[in-house]
Point group: C2
Chain length 219, copies 2
Amino acid sequence: MEQRSYQALKAIKKEAGKSNSVYMTTVRFGQVLGFSQQSASRLLIELEEKGYIRRKLENRKQVIEITDSGLEVLYGELNELSRILSQDMRVVIEGEVKSGLGEGRYYVSRKGYIVQFQEKLGFIPYLGTLNVKVDPLYEGNLRRMRSSEGIRIEGFKTEDRTFGAVKAFRARIGGEDCAVILPERSVYTDTIEVISKEYLRGKLGLKDGSRVRVTVDLS
Amino acid sequence: MEQRSYQALKAIKKEAGKSNSVYMTTVRFGQVLGFSQQSASRLLIELEEKGYIRRKLENRKQVIEITDSGLEVLYGELNELSRILSQDMRVVIEGEVKSGLGEGRYYVSRKGYIVQFQEKLGFIPYLGTLNVKVDPLYEGNLRRMRSSEGIRIEGFKTEDRTFGAVKAFRARIGGEDCAVILPERSVYTDTIEVISKEYLRGKLGLKDGSRVRVTVDLS
């Protein structure tokens, strides 16, 4: 039952504090959840099999680390509960502008994406992305975004290859409408890609290292 | 198990949307939670006994209403999860200044409270409270506040009577430090009481009907 995973991960994260890993014996884990050691042990195995935690021994003590998928369960619950309770679904993400490798430009200029950007976001993007390296202080908000569904931009095939689905989120940067885009299947990274109908570097006078604040709408 | 109540209440609130009550058959309730009709029926009885929901028949259909205590379970979980995930624990509450009945002044000037205000909040309050009728749009944030522990101001006894414990929350209003206070045992009301070392009506030029924004720190 997925609900059990949520409770267990919440308990581990609570012990871990700001970090995502913590020294925690199986006995302690059981105590926190009110389970016998045997049940606690089974649950830890289950969480490991689901890819939500990793365990290792350090100085003969058990370290439990919550994985990115495990964190997604927690941030996903936060998003769901916030939505149900009509909380503000905008989050702020701050970071520094950095140069990409031109990949963003390549992907954003594929016709299969462009037509959907126009249809679903209401604009044809400038053919390039603004890369922002997210400040560690905003990691939680970045994870909330990654755990949200967003606006789905479908994948498609061309003659020679397949392009995967992308999630897009309406956002604002320096008074401009924009969107944050994210491959649907992607490993966690601290860099986000922003698209807009404007050339944002020019319009907002940004260069590598400029600090920016992006307000992302998760609803 | 309290966790079951949380899941059940979340499911009901999801169906109810912005409202706190919804037409919902026991069968439907079971479907949503993946329970048999029998288990669903038992769970509804349990929720009723705990005071989390009320049920009635309207046009021969079952209406499930989540009570204030039931909502507290949901907002309490939101607070706990937000805290664990290091989210911003400040909430904004907006409303209109209104006149009280002088009760606030009476309570705030009791010595047993004043010494604790000074010790725990760092100020001796002006002997009166600013009453703010909260805008319905901010009801969710008000409930988040009510579901939080806050800073505990202990109750005390005098020769003739008992004064109950109070929860206090550090807050800001119009650039001034202040605190929102709330009797620990109280029924839900849409009015909050704000104390400050300043006479806020004078300092901020407020009168009945003035709109104010209070930023409350739940952490």
